[in-house]
């Protein structure tokens, strides 16, 4: 398996998961779930401002902001991605996925996030420990983040 095309932080996380046996991968995911940062004030209690990942088995909401190079410039492929995710504490698996994505993708340029491969959950080696349904939830989360970024970039071009 090659992970050379993964962003550095994500590559490290994937390596951490692959280094331990199946049951410990779940423990690791649990640790991630506890590290998911709280939402900033502008999103806390404002789920209507966020996008729901309906593919997940629990209520999960995300928002993607693009921080532009200059204040008056629009979003570009170099804009920095800021990711905000909320998932309830009674959904540790979804929180864990969200936290992995948040820690690995936050602060990257938009182009790098768009280039993250779709098979991320497979790379983490969770396909034995979790059901296909859950893994699809994670893919959906990543897919929505990427689509959200693409849409923002397209709007800029169109505008």
């Amino acid at each position: 398996m090659t992970t050379t095309e993964l962003p550095e932080k994500l590559h490290e996380i994937v390596e951490d998961f692959r280094a331990v046996p199946d049951p410990e991968r779940l423990e690791l995911l649990l640790e991630f779930s506890e590290e998911l940062p709280a939402l900033p004030e502008r999103y806390a209690g404002h789920q209507d401002q966020m996008e729901q990942v309906i593919e997940c088995q629990t209520p999960l909401f995300l928002a993607v902001e693009l921080e532009n190079a200059a204040p008056d410039a629009g979003p570009t492929a170099e804009s920095i991605v800021r990711l905000f995710v909320s998932a309830p504490p009674e959904a540790p698996t979804s929180r864990g996925f969200a936290s992995v994505l948040s820690q690995s993708l936050n602060g990257l340029p938009a182009a790098e996030v768009l280039a993250v491969p779709e098979d991320l959950s497979t790379r983490l080696g969770l396909q034995k420990a979790l059901t296909p349904l859950r893994l699809r939830g994670m893919s959906a989360m990543l897919g929505r983040i990427k689509r959200n970024i693409s849409d923002q970039l397209a709007d800029q071009l169109a505008g």
């Binding site: 199946d22 779940l26 423990e27 995911l29 649990l30 779930s33 309906i54 593919e55 997940c56 088995q57 629990t58 209520p59 504490p89 009674e90 959904a91 540790p92 698996t93 979804s94 864990g96 034995k128 420990a129 979790l130 059901t131 349904l133 699809r136 939830g137 959906a140």
Partner: protein, 318 residues
């Protein structure tokens, strides 16, 4: 490990039933325990006297146990411990014996199940134990959510378990479990679809908020009555009273005690909940859970379906 017949062990060795008047109306009140009963037995004075009791947490989100659970409770993972991915079936007798033995469960142990999502997965695990003829299985009414809502103690400490020998017992799939062939021979007798109304009519193939599970067709098995599982549950996840359940299943759906009933859902977890209601709370004599459920039926070549609110006609020539 030894091989034994699946006859029930002497019931005198079991723990007495929860005497709560909330349960006395049910056909088999001994199949339910309250959160208070569990608290008394795992935390209270009666703890020392009841070593032959194992509390099992069975969740849809299999990480949830690790975030905190009832003190002394042990996790069972329905995905990795009860399923055999190669045969696409439940684990076989040797593996079942190994899993239970590793959790300190003997053949005569009282096993109390509880879990998230109104006990779906707890009922599912209980049902699998039933296929293996484990006699003393009970559900904690209201499940994990009720325990937490009541502010009861939880811990992240995983109890140390002394492994025991569980006998290798052949699973009996003939009385509580239905296959698709069984369903084909069942037409003319009551079928209960416990999924949501939109899944029943075929507008959607999965629950609202859940991902598509790869079902090609939407609809229901012809002749099935629609009785969503949630009708049997109160807001707090506890079961409705005997009278309310009688009204739903006997009067509205027209299913009688002596009927031969098959229940199904999407993958067999919600219908385990309904199986428990019909079998143990209403005391129906013959209820089988079709665990292949819509994921199998909806995708199968040459199996007819019905679409819309009408139950549909039994296929001819079966």
């Amino acid at each position: 490990m030894t091989t034994e017949s699946s006859s029930s062990p002497d019931s005198s060795v079991h723990l007495s039933a929860d005497p709560s008047p909330d349960f006395s109306g049910y056909a088999h009140p001994e199949k339910l325990v309250s959160t208070q009963w569990v608290a008394d037995h795992v935390l209270g004075e009666s703890h020392e006297n009841h070593q032959n009791l194992v509390i099992l947490e069975s969740n849809e989100d299999t990480l949830l146990y690790s975030t905190g659970h009832i003190p002394g409770a042990i996790k069972i993972d329905w995905h990795t411990e009860l399923n055999d991915p190669v045969s696409r079936d439940f684990v076989g007798p040797e593996e079942f014996a190994r899993v239970l033995g590793s959790k300190g469960i003997s053949r005569d142990t009282t096993v109390v199940f509880y879990g998230d999502k109104s006990n779906w997965w707890a009922a599912y695990a209980l049902w699998v134990f039933t296929l293996y003829g484990h006699a003393d299985t009970r559900l904690m009414d209201g499940g994990r959510d009720k325990w937490i809502a009541e502010g009861r103690a939880t811990t992240r400490e995983v109890p140390s378990v002394t492994e025991v020998d569980y006998p290798v017992i052949e699973r009996d799939d003939s009385t509580e479990r239905a296959s698709r062939e069984d369903v084909l021979h069942h037409f003319g007798k009551p079928l209960v679809d416990v999924r949501s109304p939109l899944e029943y009519t075929g507008e959607t193939t999965h629950m609202a908020g859940y991902p598509q599970e790869g079902t090609l067709r939407g609809g229901h098995i012809p002749t099935a009555a629609s009785v969503p599982w949630a009708k049997a549950a109160n807001e707090d996840g506890t079961f409705k009273s005997r009278e309310e359940l009688e009204e739903i299943y006997r009067n509205e759906a027209g299913i009688g005690t002596s009927d031969d009933v098959v229940a199904y859902c999407r993958i067999g977890e919600r219908s385990s909940h309904t199986w428990f209601v019909l079998r143990h709370l209403l005391g129906y004599e013959k209820v089988r859970n079709y665990d292949g459920s819509w994921t199998e039926w909806g995708n199968s070549v040459r199996l007819p379906i019905a679409v819309g609110e009408e139950r549909g006609e039994a296929p001819a020539g079966r």
